[in-house]
């Protein structure tokens, strides 16, 4: 079953906890990441229905270094990024289960690595 990480990124505050927890878990050097925070904005829309509304969206992206914390998961723990997410907007599991959590009430992204089990 393919494992994935679901991010309810409507609530991602950009706190970097996932990044740092991952780097500590994988022992990555500076400048290297297993998950890396990316952002859109901040800017203010000038057009359409969103006029005068602000865009400021964060989304952490899995890199090639991501192992889905295979070793941690084997012992029953959550991946380090999911465990420490301060906004509690990350979920780990089988992609089918995670996909069912996406109910349209929030902005979500489902990511997978290449690790299956």
């Amino acid at each position: 079953m393919t494992k994935g990480i679901l991010i309810n990124y409507e609530f991602c505050t950009g706190c970097h906890s996932c990044e740092v927890a991952c780097k500590k878990e994988l022992g990555l050097d500076f400048g290297e990441f297993g998950i890396k925070l990316e952002q859109v904005g901040p800017y203010k829309y000038q057009t359409g229905d969103l006029s005068e509304k602000w865009e400021w969206t964060y989304l952490p992206v899995l890199t090639k270094a991501c192992t889905m914390c295979e070793d941690r998961v084997k012992t029953g723990k959550m991946p380090a990024c999911v465990q420490h997410c301060q906004a509690w907007c990350m979920y780990f599991g089988d992609v089918e289960d995670l996909a069912r959590k996406i109910d349209g009430s929030s902005r979500c992204a489902l990511m997978t690595g290449a690790v299956t089990s």
Binding site: N8, F11, T13, G14, C15, H16, S17, E19, V20, A21, K23, K24, D29, F30, G31, G41, P42, Y43, K44, W54, E55, W56, Y58, T75, G76, K77, M78, A80, Q83, H84, C85, Q86, A87, W88, C89, Y91, F92, G93, K101, D103, S105, S106, C108
Partner: protein, 844 residues
Amino acid sequence: MKSAMQYKNDLGKPWRYNEDEFEVIRTSMWSPPGCHPVGCGLKLYVKDGVLDHVEGDENHPVTKGRLCPRCLALKDYVYNPSRIIYPMQRDPADRGKADKWQRCSWEDAFALIKEKRDYLAATYGPECMAVLSGTGRSGGIMVSDMAQAVLGTPNACYTQSGYACYQPRSAACSHVLGAYYPEIDYAGGLEETYDNPEFVVPEVIVVWGKEPLPSNGDGLWGHAVIDMMKRGAKLISVDPRVNWLSCRSTVQCRLRPGTDTALAMAWLWVIINEELYDKEFVDKWCYGFEEFAARINDPEKGMTPNKAAEICDIPVDVIYEAARLYAKAKPASIAWGLALDQNQNGNQAGHCLLALMSITGNVDIPGGQIIAEIDPAPGVAIDAKSQAAALADLKKAAFSADVKSDNVSKDLLDDSLTTTRMEVNLDKADAASDKSTAEDAARPTRRIGWDALSDELKQKTIGMKEYPMYVNNIRNAHADRMFDAVTTGDPYPIRMAWIQSTNLLAPTCSAESDKWYQGLLKCEFNFATDLFMTPSVQGLCDLFLPLSTCAEKNDVSMTHYFGSPVTIGAINKAIDVGETKSDAQIMIELGAYLQSKALEGMFIDAEDFLNQRRANVAKMSWAKLAQKVNFQRGVNYRKYETGRLRPDRLPGFLTPTGRIELWSTAFAANGEDPLPYYSEPAFSPYSSPELAKKYPFILTTGARTYAFFHSEHRQIPILRELNPDAMIEIHPADAAELGIASGQWVEIANDFGKAKFKAKLSPIVKRGVVQAQHGWWFPEQDGNAPNLYGVFQSNCNTMIANHYNSKLGYGAPYKCNICSVVPLKESYDTNMSVVDSKFGKLVI
């Protein structure tokens, strides 16, 4: 989408347990590393006496396993190659010379302090010594004890101009509200937190002059706001600068920096004149409402929404919308922050926000503002008299015997001792019953030494003459008058400074930090308690006493400095590093070495201190708290109805009138206007138009980042890479006019100083406003004077002048100043490879 833990976790695990090859120690963090007293839950994984890694502890009632980057990087701090872990001394003639330090023993260090202290106290009087402190660290709250009990000088001092951090709000709490620090209710003190049936999710949370997510300000766990948003809370943001939360707010009030009082008065105008206030609460529990309403409506000193719109530079509709949304929401809370303190009008801003919370009936109700009660742990009932008697007997035995002997059974103490008094807060309230304030009642920790000082010495406290309310309230010398003493000898010279847990030359707290540096160089002897060789210690000190981190000491995380009824946590020691000591150990051991009369017979050792002054708040011994790790204090609401806010147990608030004093008797008695008024920042395009031509930008400082706590963490590569350079935010249109490209370095300047920053072009700041980061120094740079790790390169506090305080001595314009902005050709970019090569290889 509801969030829930879904995997195996460590819920229910004891305070210490084994997992694979590790011993796991559960703990509740405070500092060092510097942070606000939140008490986040951590699991420290130790192998062969070495900290291997950390994880968040799911057992913590508030943080529930979540953790911020600074604690995730704890190991890199503990074993950082630049950390100082042995006492060191240096000849005062060699201040600023990085290679002149020599390792010494604690005995040598204490002997040197004794020699200098005895000589200086005998020759010039003990008041010639000062203990200077910073914020956030566990030593900060002990500054008065260290000065007044250990050294015997009245001059404890947090050196920030006007104590422009927390105290302007705090003074308003004590005197206007008569209860301590109304924090937003996030159910932290209730079992099952948000799911507790007593709790109500606030309909609206106002985030006013605060960035709770990165700052965890004052001990509020910032991401609790996210938890409540997910449960339906709407937000109102009051902040000049756009932030992540404000983008998700129903209303944004992007006011001009420093005009908070005008905006709050305008909200009050709407709420009073549209009769949106809680009349029953006002009638019963507020004093001076008629006068207050008359002031708000006063044609001269009052504030209509139209007038405020002009002053604050926001559309008038936004003021009406925000005020109505707040007043109509039931319940609603206001998360009020540092920005309210950082202007001269801060006491009045605090007064107005308390008035908003009060007249809308949101004080001390579920989902509103929670306040501390006289009984710090109302859920725990104990037989106070027998406990106190048992403790007294045991202590007598301890002090008459060899304290190290097994006869003084720690077990016996642990079992019998819970607290010296059931209601520890009465300790302070009783001690000065006619002058007791709500802050004293809520924070039973700070007057060991003050009461032992002679009246003559108390009167000599620097600033007592000019600002008696400030000095008596905080038991601190007034910061700006201390600046005078240090720099000019007025009212008398300072000859010795203990710089404890503050990097005051870095732009953290002190205003005109370059002049503090020159002034403190004149002292005959300076010593420091810290963990790293900061520019302040390198430039000024003759002796370095190394402090333990939370991983190396037993201590208590005093969530919200005990001022809010949420959690109390045990900081459990897991490892030893070098010869470091905790603040409490140093206080007790140095106090004994100096034969301090104030501390004589008071504490057997650091654990006894924790029993008497920390764990007692949870009504248990330190040893029991250690095993419990976290303790929720229990919350009673509407305590003004039940006598739980006053030592005399009468209903009402702890003010002279027993009510919330919208007309403040205390302000009136101290020569301040008893009613709020708006005053324009001392430096602004309106108050100083000529200067503003020369310095056309409004300068705000001090925005928080996730990577750092004030001047800390710059030598942790994994955190530094999140924010390598000292940044300034400028609006893209302003940058275009000045020819500043993204990432280009600029110099900002005003009449007092100048500093270099790397420009970040962003529309989140208003046009004409720049936001400079604070706290910068560069541990990778040359430590020798005059460079001192580049501490004056990006030092925005050289640009903040002292003595722009309120009438009562509070507040200072750190967030509403002026400057010019000039692009530079040179780049001062940090080379992360250098940072990593210097600090990346841990010493274990």
